[in-house]
Subunit: 391 residues, 2 copies
């Protein structure tokens, strides 16, 4: 296996090899404290999405800060967290393959026996029938697994249409003694990166309408919705203010990426700092540009290219995609680098990834630095336990 | 660690879990035979780029087909191949960090002792001085490492300007007794995906001008260029026809991605087939679209979204990005799906990735299928040995 460890505990941050994924632990902990205070103030449950960090250690830290459980998107992500001692896990996504559902059923029984809980989202009668079959095959205990009915609140991806279709799914869940109908999954992914605060608020207002429609259908059927869960870093202040959502799934606030930072901040939203960076080194310099050793194998570019962090005034650089292994750095005159300053060969720089979740997935380890990126010390090297957990 | 093995040898291809990275071994071997015949016919050296496949096993297969060595982009990729018994490795990229150069020097001595060879590209006097220092510190044997001077032939990324600047670098290499000046690195990455055959030919004609300019400067200095190396799947017929390049670095032809397939084929170019696929499953279906379990955590999207493979006439689908974990499939009326056909819940589909290299990097294993994607059998499960080899 290749050498993917880029630092050792106790080293200076200047010694971290490149490219490396690095957390500013102080900034991350400030972000965590701000979100913990918010959910406590609003008396909400908090189940941060582990698709962000993919790390057992960070999941434990989030529990210490007040999270009562964790979301994941894939069965294998749930298995990775469970292997690290996490006991309250929600696969906030549909699982359809019988082989995967057998694993879901087994994991639910293991967590249940440990006093924990596994939950799964569903959006089809067929999916519920397959899950029930898997639970029967696993000789599952009564009421041993939570099921949430996903409704489409505006993202137009998974989820049934709001209203009576959701009631039919809940009834199908209620007909299965091993399954517990635990509420509605109502996450509006499409709203998270609407740039203006007003547009995000309007999108969540629409989602709340869809939930209201659905609740009316449940009322008419004499069924109760015990929990509505959803929300992300872009919109959670609105879900929290609604009185409708009982649980927030916010995860990205912990690291804050360039895409979230590009949102206009709503004054009601806590301020979150960038806490995740890619450290990179300049490996080539010409008259017009410099080239660093971080390409899109080091950082995801689905939500835009990285931005540069911590450059002094007059030293602004524009990052251009140089392929899998290279970033091309040009002087950014529009941002004050009129002199055409370029970094020197061997200089190291800090990048803010466009999107944290898939960036974390590209790395086996995350280096945790205490005391600032430039002067700090490596306090921990975390394993990305859920890296490549696709199935 | 999460369950990342998606198939076992001997299973039917229908049993491969999703999402999974799958090679059609028959198609891959046909591609390999076509390229091997081409390089033999043109009496060229062939050093395929391992940044495509990142697999020791595939590197060995390529050697059996006629490759005399392998390119990589990173020190840790070289280490991963060397650990698997590969002995002739060229890091076709600049390495600047002293810690990495110490590893480069160590690896060069290990390979040299085994009768193999390590090579490195350089584009600065500082880089050569640092490499020489690392070789001295490793007590390197005389002439034990190859160094290629990279010139910028049009990509405007790394590489010195063509002409006398390259001579100065070669002289600096020649002044170091442990280093062997092995020729010019002259790869034009920017030419590979120019869509028309004429544009690609024109770009390589420009590159050949830059090489000619450089050769004149070497002649004037009384220095010989023993090898010019470069070329990719998009342009290699031109480098091969030039009589200037002595070595081709083509790798992507082996798998062929959607981006290369979008190039207009030059009649002189051998036909290559798609051989690398992501198998995915439909996990949600609505009236307007279906959702599959492959998002951009399963396939790289830097060069465009995946296309669908093997759908029958009238069943064309358009793949839309659904985030890290989801693909959204819409009926493609413009491609003949006028009826609005959608796959059913649980159906599996084959995706052709937009860009193979970073797609491979997302997976720990590649499943090799013999006898066709649908009816075939799993013959091997390959490790992506160079996955995450960033440093």
């Amino acid at each position: 296996m290749p050498s993917t460890v880029t630092a050792l505990v106790g080293q200076s941050a200047t010694q971290i090899d490149t490219p490396a994924l690095v957390i500013d632990l102080d900034a991350m902990e400030r972000n965590m404290a701000r979100m913990a205070a918010f959910v406590q103030q609003h008396q909400l449950l908090w189940r941060p999405h582990a698709k962000l960090h993919k790390s057992v250690q960070i999941a434990h830290w989030l529990e210490q800060a007040g999270a009562h459980g964790h979301c994941v998107q894939k069965t294998s992500e749930a298995e990775a967290l469970a292997a690290g001692g996490i006991r309250n896990i929600y696969i906030s996504n549909e699982v359809i393959a019988p082989t995967k559902l057998a694993r879901v059923a087994q994991l639910s029984q293991r967590l249940h026996a440990q006093g924990g809980r596994l939950a799964l989202a569903v959006d089809s009668l067929e999916g519920i029938a397959r899950l029930a079959h898997a639970m029967q095959s696993a000789n599952a205990t009564a009421d041993s697994m939570d099921v949430l009915v996903e409704i489409n609140v505006g993202q137009n991806r998974c989820g049934v249409q709001p209203g009576v279709a959701a009631v039919h799914l809940a009834q199908a869940v209620l007909a299965q003694p091993m399954l517990h109908f635990a509420g509605l999954q109502a996450y509006h992914g499409g709203a998270q990166h609407l740039r203006t605060a007003a547009a995000r608020q309007a999108a969540i207002a629409q989602a709340l309408q869809h939930i209201a429609t659905t609740r009316q259908a449940f009322d008419a059927a004499g069924l109760r919705i015990s929990l509505v869960t959803g929300a992300g870093t872009g919109t959670f202040i609105h879900e929290a203010a609604s009185g409708v959502y009982g649980e927030l799934q916010t995860g990205s606030f912990l690291f804050m990426d360039a895409d979230y930072a590009a949102n206009e901040r709503d004054p009601a939203q806590p301020v979150f700092e960038h806490a995740l960076f890619v450290k990179t080194q300049v490996i080539s310099v010409s008259a017009t540009h410099a080239v660093c050793d971080a390409g899109h194998k080091s950082h995801a570019i689905d939500s835009g290219l990285p931005t540069l962090h911590g450059l002094p005034a007059g030293h602004a650089l524009r990052f251009a995609n140089g392929g899998d292994e290279h970033g091309v750095l040009h002087p950014d005159a529009t941002a004050g680098n009129a002199s055409g300053w370029l970094p020197a060969l061997g200089d190291t720089l800090w990048l803010i990834p466009g999107h944290c979740d898939p960036t974390v997935n590209l790395h086996q380890y995350i280096v945790g630095v205490r005391g600032g990126l430039d002067a700090g010390v490596v306090e921990c090297v975390l394993t990305v336990d859920g890296r490549g957990a696709l199935t």
